[in-house]
C-alpha cells in the first residue's frame, strides 16, 4: 500500500502542527469520524456492542412511529437525506482545516434520539465502504458519537428549551449546534480512552484531542444550527400535518 504517502502525510501534519503551535493556532487537524483501524480491537467491539441496544430501540421507535402515522415516512426520509447532505459537506473553519457537520439534529428533534441512530448508521456505512471515511472497524464508535450521543444531547436540549419556554427556533438552533459539538467531544473521549497519555492518563489525552477538534467544529456547529432552523421553518410552513402527527407542534411555544 501507499505507505510512503502516508508517512509523508503524517510528517506534513506533524510539521504543520508545529508551525501552527508556534503561531498560536490550533493544529491543522480535526476528525469527525475515527479512521478505519485506529481503534484497538477491544474498543471497536465494545463500542459496537454498546450501540446495539440503541439501534434496536431506534428500529422499534421508527416502526412504531410509522405504524401510527404512516404519512410521516416522508419526513423520516427527509431527516435521513438531511444527514446525507450535511455530513458530505466539508467546510473550511477558522483553524485552517476542514471538517463537516453531522446533520443528525433534525431527525432527533422530529423523531427522537433513538430513531436517528438508524439514519446515522446508514450514512456511516455509506462513507465507510465507499469513501474510506470513518471505517467498518470503527463503525461502532462512530455510530455512538454521531448517531447516538449527539442526537440524545440535541433531543435533551430541545426538550429543555421547550420546558423553559425559549423561542422554538432558538431552541432548535441550540439543540442542533450543541448536539453537533457534543459529537466531537465524544469522539475526543473515545480516542482518549484508546490512547491515554503516559503522563496524564485519559484526561490529559482528552484535553489534547479536544483542543484539536473543538475550535474547528464550533463555527460548523453554528452553521448546522442555522441550517436546521431553516429546514424546520420550511417544514412548519409546508408540512404542518406531518409535524402535528409527530407531536412537534403540540404544546410548542412559538
Amino acid at each position: 500500500m501507499n505507505t510512503s504517502l502516508n508517512t509523508r502525510e503524517k510528517r506534513f501534519i506533524a510539521v504543520a502542527a508545529a508551525i501552527a503551535l508556534v503561531f498560536g493556532f490550533t493544529p491543522v487537524a480535526s476528525a469527525m469520524h475515527i479512521m478505519e483501524g485506529y481503534l484497538p480491537v477491544g474498543f471497536s467491539v465494545a463500542w459496537g456492542v454498546i450501540c446495539i441496544p440503541f439501534l434496536i430501540a431506534g428500529y422499534m421507535s421508527i416502526k412504531k412511529t410509522l405504524k401510527e402515522n404512516p404519512k410521516t415516512i416522508t419526513l423520516l426520509a427527509m431527516a435521513g437525506a438531511y444527514v446525507f447532505v450535511l455530513s458530505s459537506l466539508k467546510i473550511p473553519s477558522v483553524t485552517g482545516s476542514c471538517s463537516h457537520m453531522t446533520g443528525t439534529g433534525l431527525g432527533a428533534i422530529l423523531f427522537g434520539p433513538t430513531a436517528v441512530s438508524i439514519l446515522g448508521v446508514i450514512v456511516l456505512l455509506f462513507q465507510a465502504i465507499l469513501l474510506a471515511h470513518g471505517g467498518l472497524t470503527t463503525l461502532g464508535a462512530n455510530t455512538f458519537s454521531m448517531a447516538i450521543a449527539g442526537p440524545f444531547v440535541t433531543f435533551g436540549i430541545f426538550i429543555l428549551c421547550k420546558k423553559i419556554k425559549i423561542n422554538k427556533h432558538v431552541g432548535v438552533f441550540l439543540a442542533a449546534a450543541i448536539g453537533d459539538l457534543f459529537t466531537y467531544c465524544v469522539t475526543a473521549f473515545q480516542l482518549a480512552m484508546a490512547y491515554p497519555s503516559e503522563s496524564g492518563g485519559v484526561a490529559a489525552s482528552m484535553v489534547k484531542f479536544l483542543a484539536v477538534f473543538a475550535p474547528t467544529q464550533i463555527p460548523l456547529a453554528i452553521i448546522e444550527g442555522i441550517l436546521t432552523v431553516v429546514i424546520i421553518i420550511g417544514l412548519e410552513t409546508y408540512a404542518q400535518p406531518e409535524l402535528n402527527d409527530l407531536g412537534y407542534l403540540a404544546g410548542g411555544v412559538k
Binding site: A31, Y38, F84, S88, L131, I223
Partner: protein, 114 residues
C-alpha cells in the same frame, strides 16, 4: 416578501458567510482533509507512528488509496442523493400546501364579503 422568507434568506446568507470567511482570513492555510488528521494526534500521544490494523475495504479492493477526484465524486453522490430526496419531498409539500390553500382562500374571501 414575507417575514419568514426574509428570516430564511438572512439565515442562509449568514451560514454561507461563516463558511467562507475562514478562506479569506487564513489565506495561506491548507484546509487539508480533516478526518485523516486525528492520526497525527494519536502518533503524538503514543510517541510512535501508529499502524492501523485494518485498511478500508474499498482501498484494499483497488489496492491503493481512493484518488482525490474519485473521492469527491462519491461525496457529490452522497450530497446528490440527499438533496434529491429533500427537494423532491419539499416540492410535494409546497404543491400540496398550494392546493390546500386555494379552496381556503376562496372560502376566506366569501366569508370576508359576508
Amino acid at each position: 416578501m414575507t417575514a419568514t422568507k426574509k428570516t430564511v434568506i438572512g439565515l442562509l446568507v449568514l451560514a454561507v458567510i461563516i463558511a467562507l470567511v475562514p478562506l479569506f482570513i487564513l489565506q495561506n492555510a491548507e484546509f487539508g482533509g480533516s478526518d485523516d488528521a486525528g492520526s497525527g494526534v494519536v502518533s503524538e500521544i503514543t510517541g510512535t507512528e501508529y499502524e492501523p490494523w485494518f485498511t478500508p475495504i474499498f482501498e484494499t479492493a483497488i489496492n491503493g488509496e481512493i484518488p482525490g477526484e474519485v473521492e469527491s465524486l462519491f461525496f457529490c453522490v452522497q450530497t446528490g442523493i440527499g438533496v434529491g430526496i429533500i427537494a423532491f419531498i419539499m416540492g410535494r409539500f409546497v404543491e400540496r400546501k398550494k392546493k390546500e390553500d386555494e379552496p381556503n382562500k376562496a372560502d376566506g374571501s366569501k366569508r370576508a364579503k359576508k
